[in-house]
Symmetry: D3
Subunit: 229 residues, 6 copies
């Protein structure tokens, strides 16, 4: 038996939209270096950026039936997160489904499998991260759960979680931690802006971060090449 969970609790919209200015690397650092999906999840075009709330969808290998079911559960501001029950690179998603999601105000797709119609998706500027771009079609035979927690590309995603995704990958934030992560991301960004100015005028990380003493303590030596070995 498969279940579609309706009326899921979503992270508050003002918090979600607060991440619009931040990259994945910043957000990932801000939440203590966790929640990152595996590196094989790649954007289909560049540059790219999306933030939204997760609607989760489980599909059978080579079978995209449940995506149609999940679309109905999506609202404006959501990002659809799809995982097959076993590894698959088929093209589960193309321009018609993208048109359908876009019509509902959905902000992107995270697909732990393949997508197709990549040229049209790019032209539409509909943000997609996937494991593959591949024309291989799918059938509609097997049920799966919608809006139950699932593991996507190695990361646990709950429905309603925040998804932040860009050229560097995809990160997921728990609903009840998002506000505090947002705050830390803002602090981090402010701090980095100052650092960027220092780096631009030629200061070294060694000095900015005061690393020299600790390097010496750990035993780092400097030798001239003509004296080496």
């Amino acid at each position: 038996m498969a279940v579609v969970v309706t009326d899921i609790k979503r992270t508050e919209k003002t918090i979600v939209d607060g991440f619009a200015d931040f990259g994945v690397a910043t957000v990932h650092e801000a939440q203590g270096r966790k929640g990152l999906l595996a590196s094989y999840m790649r954007p289909i075009y560049r540059p790219i950026h999306a933030v939204g709330t997760a609607v989760t969808c489980e599909v059978a290998p080579g079978d995209n039936w449940m995506i149609h079911v999940a679309v109905e559960q999506c609202q404006a501001g959501d990002i659809l997160v799809v995982t097959p029950t076993s590894a698959c690179e088929d093209g589960y998603f193309g321009d018609l489904l993208a048109t359908s999601l876009k019509a509902r105000g959905v902000r992107g797709l995270i697909m732990d499998a393949g997508v197709r119609d990549a040229a049209v998706l790019t032209e539409m500027q509909f943000p997609v991260w996937s494991k593959a771009i591949y024309a291989q079609g799918t059938v509609k035979e097997t049920l799966g759960n919608v809006n139950r927690p699932l593991v996507c590309a190695g990361a646990l995603v709950y429905p309603g979680d925040v998804i932040v995704a860009d050229d560097d990958g995809v990160v997921v934030l728990r609903r009840d931690e998002a506000a505090s992560v947002l705050e830390k991301a803002q602090e981090r960004e402010a701090n980095e802006a100052g650092k960027r100015v220092q780096f631009e005028r030629g200061e070294l990380g060694l000095d900015i971060y005061k690393m020299r003493e600790r390097l010496t303590q750990k035993g780092l030596k400097y030798v001239r090449q003509d004296e080496d070995r």
Copy 2:
């Protein structure tokens, strides 16, 4: 001993050119989801599209000699399809060979190995799908067959078959099936155009494809999140 087959029968030009308006996903569906090359065959730039008739060429690992032989067998409207006799990522093909093919009116290259001079090929907009982009050079020592059937990236290709390739991959169509596949692709496209309008105005696949009843029969349940488990 190696053989070059001359005077191959090609799919009729009007049929081949009929595929110019169709993507690989559509054509692959139209011929019953067969004939697709493996997902590791990727275009060297995007967007990209090519249709043509296959000239097939077998090469030794790290040896591109037979490509020069195959070029002479190519006519305007052809696509050159090259497979090494064992897996290899060397750069078999670069800007000089592309210039030579272009001068003959050849429409693209399908290379189950590596290519090089990718920047120039992109600038020339010469369509190439390959397993790798890699500068590694090749030698000219070993013979192979030209215009014999071969397996390229997991798909069987006969000389004279139709090749359709785009951002989503590469599909091959038998010479004697191409006309009927073209017809089905045209029907499919017409059908999809109507669907696209429905999706744009917010109708759901669940309703457009009348899936609700069958989902219920298979046992799909809807539950509110606060009642789940």
Copy 3:
């Protein structure tokens, strides 16, 4: 104990800059098809090109501390070459380090691991070749050597060697061989320019390279398709 070698001998600047007009495929051929890094080293944007002298940096897995140390050893005209002591796809390098390198006149980064902030690096047009683009952060705990010879993506690199990199990959040239390779690259390019004109007007490689006789000697046969088998 870890060592930073200072005052390394670099290939002479006029020689290094002589490679500015050449692609990796040409240079790789000119030095006898050696010195190429593995094909998994890919540029983060295209088209791309860089030439410079190598500063080498060894890092621990998931630890980018030594990159900060290496930056100080970099001069205008250098390319930073980084290898982890065991395989890793973490994002060792982002926009702040790129800003720092750029401020010093460094011409690019060769990273046998991951980088992040890919969108910003692309916007800056700071040339980077890496194994992955990935937001995963790193720590600063473990020492490594700077400016000792190392193996990067399968190729041995000495500090001060010439690095040439483009869309096709990355090649390394020994300091004492660079002048002679440059000369051969120039000859090769001159030769290819002539060939390109011949190919453009439709001449065949079979004739330009006088291959027909040797093919016949090796046993190549031509048969009409209706007579084949």
Copy 4:
């Protein structure tokens, strides 16, 4: 900050030990085809089998410090489940740690990274499933959580869950579902024993599972080879 959770609730021992007679394929089917770790998790010797309760341990890339912390949390009947915070193939675990676990009655190791001393581990017949066998050593610098839920090879594991592992891979069962899965596994096995006898005497799956009618309904045709196409 990192946390070690002590006094975890474990699945009841009599239930856990009930799985001793079952293979992973049977258990995976019995719980509705979920909970399987990715196929890259392979046993270091064959044949192999282990059942136990999960103690979970998070480690940094190239850093096995927390395994020593986790050992203390292990009891007789446990299986240690280790995941790095980013992908790594280093040899986190060798014969000394195996000796330590064995002394505590621990029944095996599930390592989403590499192990070493494979020859000794095999000789000891200490059951290990890992992503790699590799001599690369690790450091002891970075903290991680012990006995918090984690994702191992794509599957979510809670401390105290049941782990069943054999030549076919590794499956995880929730503590509160284990009893019911055990029951279904027993039924399934009883059912399969009967089937095995039928297959042994030459009966066909087509008849045993009464598939012929449904195949015909779906449109399967039988043709003689001389009449095909």
Copy 5:
């Protein structure tokens, strides 16, 4: 629509059984280095050897229904060759199907996907070559062709072809070429037996194969280490 082709023509049994004494490497050389399946096809135990006639079976990803259909088409002396229509590592085949095939005198399985119950298959000594060993189960929903030509792991296989498989991989021989390949394999083996004696008493390949002159012609030089460079 899917088709099962019955009454296929098989290679003559005396020829097939003639390959029982030969390894795959010998047979592959004897037929001119063609017909080898890709290197990812690995035996589930070692040492291993099987020869037989191919029965071919096409399956959907994650769906093993057609294997049951194919079993009925198998006779004593056959080897079942299974390919999914898109890449998949699920465990399509386990001990019950092996029992069924064994009861019919089938000699092995070539599976371009995963198998399970590896421990039992090994104990039964039922020869299997596959892409993966994995417990992941499959459904029974989608039709596919049986005994039509297919591409398995990159090689084209016709029903009735000879399959020879051992520790080194799998090779396929066309029905009408098998007799002549057998003859060449016998000659090759006789020749190698003599060579083995020469190698055992310390003669060098350089002399046995008279390579010295050709090496010199190609430009090979010998230098003492103290004179090198």
Copy 6:
């Protein structure tokens, strides 16, 4: 032009043979965690162990000619180390070459490509580490260097270096560092023997290595599960 370097300096035999009692993990630690070949280099059987002095051999992709040349340079106590100039999985080496090497007292093969006749090599107990086991044959057309330094599976190997290899992989030691590494390996082993006894009687690594204080300083906390979060 290609060169064979003769009369190479080898590490002293008594030092080399001193490593006979040590595993790769121990040796790798003893020399400061460097010199390890990549993890894809795997033994063709287990358990396995070999120590010897390197003879290095460069080959073209799909071409094993130079191995015959290298055999002549091998002496009793050597291990042959072979690297293709571009990535290749062909079966460069089989039972005849193994017979030839064995007749000369050579102790093993490190092949950064494929080998074949794996069943016979296993029966002979001739130790081989390779990237693949694959029947694909090779030609004899292209020259390469013998006994020049080369990069094998990511590690730099000089002729005459010590190779130590076992179930965990392959490590290389410089000729002039081998004696000092041997000493450290002996110390390490003595130290580990004592540790093993402590672990066997149930002592914890936390206490043996006195880790508790440093863990607390870094911030590790212990909490009961019922108080967690």
